[in-house]
């Protein structure tokens, strides 16, 4: 059996999709893609495709859930039934419930929630195609949707995962590597605040590998952050200058 298993990393450190160990996948963010939301974003992250819509701040419904000193932030992470190899029931699984919670907790530190008491900010995330690191892609795209909604924020939240595959640490884990790998460690980070807002890990790594992973994660988040800024530039620069050029 062991011999038949295809290797995911070649001897010269190239991964099965041609990436180096510390190389992220092609990431393309788009802002303002939906019409009925206050803010929206779409991301293609390798083969992972996710759409995020933000509603709010708006009056909390039901009213008794409103918080008297800040906005209530909710995230709804859902995977489309056709987003994975086998059909998935559209009803939210325990995984989706937990991910919704940690995604919300990754984004909330960025939002000036205290400016909008008694309101709700709802973040709806629909994974159209899943190929690993969907929570990282969701968080990164959601922070752009929040920007698009004009919600005051401390910083953008950038997110990425490090995995351990065939004994090596690899940046930006795709599905194949996640399934075959020994560990998966996603992080969300606000670079200008030096703030880690999400950190999870499953699998097994040594203490030294953990320390190296933190470094790699920081580097990866900064690369995602740069792409987010480029997307903002592209979207809003267009809105300002399109007429003068015409």
């Amino acid at each position: 059996m062991e011999e038949l298993k295809t290797r995911l990393i070649s001897d010269d450190g190239i991964r099965c999709d041609g990436r180096r160990l510390d190389e992220i996948r092609p990431i393309k963010f788009q802002i303002g893609v939906l019409n009925n939301t206050d803010g929206s974003a779409y991301v293609e992250w390798g083969r992972t495709k996710i759409l995020v819509g933000v509603m709010g701040p708006r009056e909390s419904h039901p009213k008794h859930l409103a918080l008297s000193d800040k906005a209530r932030v909710e995230a709804y992470y859902r995977m489309a039934s056709f987003s994975v190899e086998e059909w998935k029931s559209p009803a939210p699984s325990r995984r989706e419930v937990e991910l919704s919670k940690v995604i919300r907790e990754a984004l909330e530190p960025a939002i000036f929630v205290e400016l909008f008491p008694r309101t709700s900010i709802d973040i709806f995330i629909e994974v159209l195609q899943a190929d690993g690191s969907t929570r990282c892609a969701s968080i990164s795209a959601a922070s752009l949707a929040l920007v698009d909604a004009g919600i005051p924020m401390r910083d953008l939240v950038a997110s990425i995962a490090v995995g351990k595959v065939e004994g090596k640490l690899v940046l930006d884990v795709q599905d194949k590597e996640d399934k075959a790998g020994d560990s998966d460690m996603p992080m969300a980070y606000m670079p200008s605040k030096n703030a880690v807002t999400l950190l999870q890990m499953d699998g097994q790594i040594t203490h030294d590998e953990f320390i190296q992973s933190m470094e790699l994660l920081k580097k990866g988040c900064l690369e995602v952050y740069k792409k987010q800024k480029e997307a903002i530039e592209a979207h809003f620069k267009g809105a300002i200058s399109n007429v003068e050029e015409a």
């Binding site: 918080l67 008297s68 932030v73 937990e98 919704s100 919300r104 530190p109 880690v196 950190l199």
Partner: protein
């Protein structure tokens, strides 16, 4: 859950007390509250444990059931961890479907046990591809005085370590229970350690009043060989990367201390740590 309003003076008090290395209940920042473990308290369960850390009390039970394997791992048994919040455990708990807090708790406990690979699921296969043992590990939160994650993880672990499995005789497609008990195919003692960040300090094993004012929490599970096997950051604050590195250092030490205690306590109870 309803909105909890905490007086701001309390947070100030906790932070200022921590400046001199103390906590409201007299502990230092790295002390755990007293840990108690009682195993074998439910006869009808294959394994059970009542664990308390300070005033927090969690009971865990292990039940075996014959069921279908997952299609991608047809020859392996299945472990399922569930968490139930009993309404009398806290005025904040509401009866009904498990909310996201319960789901997160169950999944964090599950990850600590699963990723440490203490259970040899290949030994839980009855008819390859058709029938396997499903091991249900359910934790019930009875009294919530802070740090549910560590208490629940310890309860689940203690119940698993002291459980026995039913012996089954397989003849063709028939499975017959012999009535004998076999040791659990289990090895290892993964320990979960949780720290809270309040202000810019880290508090090991947060109490309920500390949890009410915390910025965020960090849980990490260690295996006996020093490997990390699960991490979860929780709540809506943030850590700096430096704080996280420090939290892991502290947790590593604490995990060894607690593991020693578990070995000691479980031996005291029935002399058995794990199966074979």
């Amino acid at each position: 859950m309803s909105q909890r309003i905490v007086p701001t003076v309390k947070k100030r008090q906790i932070i200022e007390l921590a400046d001199s290395g103390k906590r409201m209940d007299g502990r230092t920042l790295t002390d755990y509250r007293e840990i108690k473990i009682q195993t074998g308290i439910v006869d009808k369960a294959e394994g059970s444990a009542m664990v308390s850390i300070g005033g927090t009390k969690v009971v865990a039970g292990v039940k075996f059931e014959i069921g279908d394997p997952f299609p991608d791992i047809p020859n392996e048994g299945v472990m399922q961890v569930g968490a139930e919040f009993v309404p009398f455990a806290s005025p904040d708990f509401e009866p009904g479907k498990p909310d996201e807090v319960a789901v997160e708790l169950a999944r964090v406990v599950d990850r600590g046990l699963r990723e440490s690979k203490i259970l040899e699921t290949s030994k839980l296969c009855l008819i390859p591809g058709k029938k396997v043992w499903i091991v249900h590990v359910d934790v019930y939160i009875l009294d919530h005085c802070g740090n549910l994650i560590d208490t629940a993880a310890l309860a689940a672990l203690s119940a698993m370590l002291t459980a026995t499995m039913p012996e089954a005789a397989v003849e063709g497609e028939n499975i017959r229970l012999t009535g004998n008990r076999l040791p659990m195919p289990i090895t290892g003692i993964p320990i979960n350690v949780t720290l809270a960040k309040i202000g810019n300090r880290l508090f090991v094993d947060p109490s309920l009043e500390e949890e009410e004012v915390l910025d965020c929490r960090f849980s990490v599970a260690f295996k006996e060989n020093g490997m990390l096997c699960a991490i979860q950051k929780g709540e809506s604050g943030y850590f700096t990367p430096e704080e996280i590195l420090r939290a892991v250092e502290i947790a590593k030490d604490k995990s060894q201390e607690i593991r020693k205690k578990v070995v000691e306590l479980l031996k005291l109870n029935d002399g058995a740590v794990g199966g074979s």
